[in-house]
């Protein structure tokens, strides 16, 4: 699995690999190992998010895109920061909770007066929290 946070101005703020994806039945048709494509597949979903985010008022957009049997789920914060998750199994409730927990720590991070909008998010405490949230929900 792969997780990315994309900022308001489409700059990448955070990304991380989470475990491995189960090979899907279509995966043999892939031109390269899925791990190398994670970033491209996930960011390609941004176009879909751009349209989908005006269709609903909810923050969690569920699955927005598919790629050879893999699913990309998205979450848009009120400040238009996009959380994207590339995953292999459908489990809406736990993914929603995963995004909500992340939103909480994201907000805590940006509330720091030393954080400037658009700065990358990685700090050791943030990383530790992300790991904790992944263990809890995924």
């Amino acid at each position: 699995m792969y997780f990315a946070i994309v900022g308001n101005d489409d700059k990448s703020l955070y990304e991380c690999d989470i475990g491995t994806l189960k090979p899907s039945e279509d995966a043999s048709k892939l031109p390269a190992p899925i791990k190398d494509l994670n970033l491209y597949i996930t960011h390609a979903a941004l176009d879909v998010v751009d349209e989908a985010q005006w269709e609903t008022q909810s923050l969690y957009l569920k699955s927005v895109d598919k790629f050879y049997g893999y699913i990309i789920s998205a979450f848009v914060t009120p400040g238009n920061v996009r959380f994207l998750l590339l995953h292999d199994s459908r489990n809406d409730e736990s993914i929603k909770q995963f995004f909500l927990d992340l939103w909480d720590i994201y907000t805590k991070t940006i509330l720091s007066p030393f954080y400037k909008e658009g700065d990358p998010l990685g700090n050791p405490h943030f990383n530790a929290r992300v790991k904790q949230i992944i263990r809890k929900n995924l």
Binding site: N8, Q53, W54, T56, Q57, S58, L59, V76, T77, P78, G79, N80, W103, D104, I105, Y106, T107, K108, T109, I110, L111, S112, K116, E117, N123, P124, H125, F126, N127, A128, R129
Partner: protein, 215 residues
């Protein structure tokens, strides 16, 4: 973020030297030692989070700082506006997050204006703004009106700068709230005192045309 009167408490002198340990850890992936961080604290709303005297003091310093670096009133207001923009993005996320299960993104113009008028104002000042009007002169122009803006309450404007309205800070906050929510606009603060409310301030919000195209 809300500011409520509260007896001033003398600041506690910091006893320990600043701890830069976490910065050295940056490149190493070992988990940080257990200690209290911002992530352990709840974002839930508390009453009167900020002391009014502390706020008034810092804000007056900020105004003087900007004043000493500006050559005229409009530059001073612009600097205050820029200060406010750092606050808006944060206030937006925090306000919506505090709605809990009802958290939603505003995708249409009128509900968004209503949200700023009511919820953002409540986060900032503990009360909704006093009224909202649609401009009759220009399209996509709206006015949010505050009869007693808190930020200007302790600022006395010298006579030769009568044009100045320090609520430019709030205008900056409002502008960045709208912009972060993908409603690009310009916001300016204007003093329009009445006999009853001498500090009455009108925030003029002028949206860009792109907002209209989407709606």
């Amino acid at each position: 973020m809300s500011v409520a009167p509260r007896p001033a408490v003398p600041a506690k002198p910091s006893s320990s030297t600043p701890n830069f340990a976490h910065e050295r850890n940056d490149s190493v992936s070992t988990p940080p030692p257990p200690q209290q961080t911002v992530y352990d604290r709840s974002l839930a709303r508390k009453r009167g989070e900020v002391s009014l005297s502390a706020f008034a003091y810092i804000f007056s310093e900020a105004v003087q700082y900007c004043h000493s670096r500006s050559k005229d009133v409009s530059e001073l207001e612009h600097r205050l506006n820029l200060l406010g923009r750092h606050i808006g993005v944060r206030v937006l996320e925090l306000t919506v997050l505090r709605e809990g299960k009802n958290a939603k993104r505003e995708t249409r113009l009128m509900p968004m204006l209503q949200f700023v008028h009511t919820h953002i104002w409540r986060t900032l000042f503990n009360r909704p703004a006093d009224s909202m009007q649609v401009s009759t002169e220009e399209q996509l122009q709206y006015m949010i009106i505050d009869h007693r803006p808190l930020v200007t309450e302790y600022i006395s404007v010298p006579r030769d700068m009568s044009q100045l309205n320090c609520a430019a800070l709030v205008a900056g906050i409002v502008q960045s709230v709208f912009s972060a929510a993908q409603f690009p606009c310009k916001v300016t603060a204007h003093s329009m005192g009445t006999d009853e409310f001498p500090d009455r301030t009108v925030y003029v919000v002028k949206f860009e045309d792109s907002v209209l195209k989407r709606v």
